[in-house]
Every structure is written in C-alpha cells, then in structure tokens.
C-alpha cells in the first residue's frame, strides 16, 4: 500500500516535470516570442536588447534558464514577472488559489448533489414525463454557455431586479475573504456557484441516468429481484454503486481542470481574481514566469485529482483491489 502510494507520487512528479519542460520549450520556440524584445519595448536598440538579455539571463543555455526558473518557483519562491519586475509570481498564485478553490468547491458540491438526485430520479422514472422534463432541463443547462448565463445572472441580480425582494441580498461583484467576512464570502459566491454548477448538473445528471439504466440491465439486478428486494433497495444498493464509477471519472477530470484554471469564464464574468484570470492575463502578456507558475499549479491539481479518482475507484469496486 505504502509502495503503491510512493509509486503514484513518483509518477505525479514525473508528469509535472514533463509538463514544465514542455511549457518552457514551447515558450522559447513560439515564433515572435523573444522575451527580451517584449521586455525591452518597441524600437529598442540592439544594445538595450543585449542588456535586457543579459540581465534576465536569456543569454544562458536553456537548461540553465530552466533550472534557475524551477529553483525560483519551488525553492526560493522569489521568481518575478517579466512584465513587472516588482511583482512576485509565487505570492500572486497563492493569493488567487483561495478565490478559485472557493468558487470551484462550492459549485462542485452543488452540482454533485443535485445531479445525483436528478440522475436517480430520472433513471427510476425512466421514460415518464418527469424523466423527459429533467433530461430536457439538463440539456438546456448544457447548452447555455457560462459567459452568457453569467451575464444574464448579473443583469438580473445586479441591475434589473436587484431592488426587488428576491435579489436585494446579492452583494456587488468581487471576492471577499472567508476569514474577514464569512457571510460576505458566501453571499458573493452564491450566484457564481449556481452559474458554474448549472452546466455540470446537466452533464452529470445525464451521465448518471444512463449509467444507472445500464446497470439495471445486468444479471445481478435480476438476482437481486429474485431475492425479493424492493426496487428502491435494488436501485440504491445494487445499481447505483457501479454506476458511480463513470460519474467519479468525469468528476476527477472536470474538478482538476476547473481548479487548475478552467473556471476562467466564470471568474471573469463575476470579477473574481482567481487562477483562471491570472493564467489568462499571463498568457496575454507572454509572461513566462507567471505562465510557468500557474501551469505548474494547474498540473499539480489535475494530477492530484486523478490520483484521488483512482483511490475512489478502489473504494467503489473491490475488483480493482490488488493484494
């Protein structure tokens, strides 16, 4: 067991190393991405360019630059942005993490709970009007892009109906620290949570419904019926558990990606300065240190989420337990 965990950890480190090398090389191989030219500004003289190259270390071999950058991210933590040399990259990432985590965790709890309920109800009432209604609503949720839905949400809750009793509680856009103001933290995030969750509720509800219906065709469900168990017990005890495997796979991938910065659109629409926004701005400016730090952070979450998914598989399905 300990050996398996260590091996898994080693794999994670290897994956992250590979990602960092690839990102680093892409950055230097991108045409027109000469970082010195960018830093020196337009129409810089060759002397200025050379000076910038030297002072940022671009005249050194690539592997030296790579190692120094990694050292500055993981050991000393004093890597600075290429765009603004007074801006330290690691603290900037650290400051964005709680924003993104708050957004994604809350939305994830919401979408997991609601989609499990929807999936079970739809599967249990298969082909009824309720099933059809839920699946149609799910499809509607999938079809609404976050940037559109988010703006509509803002339009309703921030301006159009903000003065009505229903939405007067909605605070202005922005993020409040949980430690400073827990109530404000919660209230500012309610609308972003709902917006982000709606898409995933649709997808997850449909996936779970399909998985449950598939499990209900299995021979062991017939055995369970022959045992004289109630349909409710068959559904919850015998069909649901195997159905959750597909659900967990999807969740691991989506959750890792969202925490790693895919919640960008939601963050932008609701004025939350999270990882997605930070990564997006860094890419816009071709700010290598910031890109490197955010990508390392994101890859770490994706890799960890995958490891957690594997662990949950083992909990759900004893066939995957090897002695």
């Amino acid at each position: 067991m300990i050996y398996a965990i260590l091996r898994r950890f080693g794999q994670m480190l290897f994956v992250m190393f590979g990602i960092s090398v690839i990102v680093f090389l892409i950055f230097f191989a991108t045409p027109g991405a000469d970082p010195a030219a960018r830093i020196a500004g337009r129409n810089a003289s060759p002397e200025v360019l050379a000076a910038v190259r030297h002072s940022f270390g671009f005249d050194q071999p690539l592997y030296v630059q790579y190692v120094r950058m990694m050292e500055k991210i993981f050991v000393t933590g004093d890597l600075t942005s290429f765009v603004n040399r007074g801006w330290k990259v690691v603290p900037a990432v650290m400051d964005s993490i709680p924003v993104t985590l708050s957004l994604v965790f809350g939305a994830a709890i919401l979408w997991v709970v609601v989609s499990i309920v929807i999936g079970i109800v739809a599967a249990a009432t298969r082909d009824s009007w309720l099933d059809k209604l839920l699946m149609a609503l799910g499809l509607l949720g999938i079809s609404m892009p976050v940037y559109w839905l988010g703006e509509v949400m803002n339009l309703i809750t921030q301006s159009r109906y903000h003065d009505s009793w229903a939405f007067s509680w909605v605070p202005p856009l922005g993020y409040k620290n949980f430690s400073d103001d827990p109530k404000g933290w919660f209230l500012t995030l309610v609308i972003p949570w709902i917006t982000l969750a709606i898409l995933y509720i649709g997808i997850y509800g449909r996936v779970l419904r399909a998985a449950i219906i598939e499990s209900m065709q299995e021979d062991y469900i017939r055995t369970a019926r022959a045992k004289g168990l109630s349909e409710t017990r068959i559904l919850f005890r015998h069909a649901l558990r195997t159905s959750l495997i597909a659900f967990v796979t999807l969740f691991g991938l989506d959750f890792g990606a969202l925490v790693g910065g895919s919640a960008l659109l939601t963050e932008v629409v609701f004025g939350l300065h999270g990882i997605g926004k930070l990564t997006y701005d860094a890419l816009q400016n071709l700010d290598l240190p910031m890109i490197m730090a955010t990508v390392m952070y994101a890859s770490m979450f994706v890799v960890v989420a995958n490891a957690v998914v594997d662990f949950v598989y083992i909990l759900l399905d004893p066939r995957l337990r090897t002695s």
Binding site: Y220, T223, A226, K227, G228, L229, P318, R319
Partner: protein
C-alpha cells in the same frame, strides 16, 4: 400441489410485431418433485419460469393465463405481495454464476441481505446462518468465504454461493435455470449432486431448466419438453427415455452419442433450425424439421392432450387411435 400453471401465454411487443414466446403452457409440480424442462434456446423454457417468478419486467410483455402457487393466483398479484414470496418461498438459481452476483459486495453480505429481507433477524444471526449455508453447499472454508468478493471465487464456487443464497430462506419451490451450463463437466456433477441432496434435506420442489438430456436423465422425476413456446411432450423420466413419442424428443435423444457399442460416423443432428417466433408456421411448429410430417401437420397445431405421458403430435394421436 405446489405449483399449477394453466394455459400460460407470454408475448412481447417488438418493432417487428408481436412475439409469442410462450403459447399455452400448462404443468403441475408436486411437493419435493424435480421437474426437468428441456428444449433448445428460444423454446421458452426460461421465459415461462421467469413468468412464474414474476421477473418479467419488460413493459412490452403481456402475461396471460394462470399461475397458482399453493392455490394462490400469482398472475396479477401486486408487486409487494410477489416480492414477499420471491427469495423466500420461491427461489431461483441462474445460468451464469459469473454475472449473477453483484460484484461490489461480499458473498456473505449478499446472502445475509436476502435473509434479512424476509426474516426479521439481526445481522449477526443472519451471518451465522450464512456460514451454515455455505458449509451446506460444501464450501471448504465457509467462514473465510463469507468475506470473499464474487471475482475472488471460481465459477463452481460462485454457483454454490448462488445456490446457498437461493436456499437461505428454505424455499418450497426452487427454479434452476441451466445452473450447470456455464460450468466445467466435473463441476457440473458436483452441482447436480448438491441439488439432489438439497431436495432431500430442504424438501424443496425443483424446476430444472436445461438443454442437456443427460442432466435430465440423472435428476428429473418428470420431464417436460418444449419447442417454440409450447410443450410438445411430458411424462415421467422413464416414460420419456424408454418410450419417447414426439419426433422432436426422439430426435433430441438420438443426438446423444452412445457410450457403448459402435459409434456412429456422424452424430445425427436435427435438420434445420428452430422457427422464428415472429413467423411461426400455421401448423405444427416442428413440422418443417419433422421426418414424419404429413398433411394434418401443415394446417393445425396439435394439442398436447391429457394424460401423464402425452405428446403434441398428430402422428402419435393417429397411432393411438389405430391401436
């Protein structure tokens, strides 16, 4: 009389039209009797017994006729009432032990679940009973086997576990749907011994579905031969093996290679294949494959008639009339 089935008809609505899987099947079962039901795939053996169990869940199926268990009509019985019988008084053993058990729970848990569904006993009491049952079906180490998952057991062991589960509430009627088909020959013999022994100790009546005449000759008290959804011959085991009347029964017996004497160069096979249930011939369903068919077979379906040993064949009826 434990079970009395009269004129049972099961049909399924499909895209290609109505499929009559069972067309007027009648049979009786006495206490602690073993009835062998023989026929090819698609002859309706399994469907007729699934109907008895109330396990036909297909919404496109219609079940007509009468199934009386201890004098009580099962057709049209509310699901809750039926559930109380299933697994408790009427138990079933399935064909494929590989898929008949839920993969994510231990053997012990799954058997105890059935006991607790029908008897208000504590978990530890149920587990004691499980251990006793597993010992009864010849598990070498019953206590240890309880904590095994299905995938950790061999096919034969899984089938023993399924049998232990079926016996857990001392059923008066046991339906065994080809329990030996998926197993090795040596394992088969063990399972047959077990069924015989359990009939003696538990006094259960057994309906044993099989396509293996050898199994029938070893086990059954009475035999019912099915073809295309109808019973073509019934009688005691001795009747059937020493005096087979229906051409289909004779053909089935003829295709067993003799153990002694000269071996035939080619094993006799029944020419043709079973008819599609969608396009049954107007007359006798076996007619097109029958070596002794004549005019009446083309136009009408022969009746089985009364009598302990009876065959649904115009030739047989004619032979008896001429006697």
């Amino acid at each position: 009389m434990i079970l009395s089935v009269r004129d049972l008809k099961v049909s399924f609505r499909t895209h290609d039209g109505l499929v009559r899987a069972i067309d007027g099947v009648s049979f009786d079962l006495e206490e602690s009797e073993i009835l062998g039901v023989v026929g090819e795939s698609g002859s309706g053996k399994t469907v007729s017994l699934l109907a008895v169990m109330g396990l036909i869940t297909d919404p496109n199926a219609t079940i007509e006729g009468s199934i009386r268990y201890k004098g009580r009509e099962l057709v049209g019985l509310p699901p809750r009432e039926l559930r109380r019988l299933r697994g408790n008084e009427i138990a079933m053993i399935f064909q494929d032990p590989m898929t008949a058990l839920t993969p994510v729970y231990t053997i012990g848990w799954q058997i105890a679940e059935q006991i607790r569904a029908h008897r208000g006993v504590s978990k530890s009491k149920a587990m004691e009973r499980v251990e006793q049952l597993l010992a009864e079906v010849n598990f070498p180490n019953p206590h240890e086997a309880m904590s095994r998952y299905p995938h950790q057991l061999s096919g034969g062991m899984r089938q023993r576990a399924v049998i232990a589960m079926a016996l857990s509430c001392d059923p008066t009627l046991l339906v065994a749907d080809e329990p030996t088909t998926a197993l090795d020959v040596t394992v088969q013999a063990g399972i047959l011994d077990l069924v015989r022994k359990l009939r003696a100790t538990h006094k259960s009546a057994v309906v044993f579905i099989t396509h293996d005449m050898g199994v029938v000759s070893e086990l059954a008290d009475r035999v019912m031969v099915m073809y295309a959804g109808r019973v073509v011959e019934r009688g005691t085991r001795t009747d059937l093996f020493s005096d087979p009347r229906h051409p289909y029964t004779r053909a089935l017996l003829g295709s067993i290679p003799p153990l002694t004497g000269q071996k035939p160069r080619r094993l006799p096979a029944i020419p043709g294949s079973p008819p599609s249930l969608l396009r049954l011939p107007q007359g006798c369903a076996f007619g097109p494959r029958c070596p002794v068919r004549y005019e009446p077979c083309e136009t009408a379906k022969p009746d089985l008639g009364a009598g302990a040993h009876a065959a649904a064949c115009f030739r047989v009826a004619q032979a008896w009339a001429n006697r």
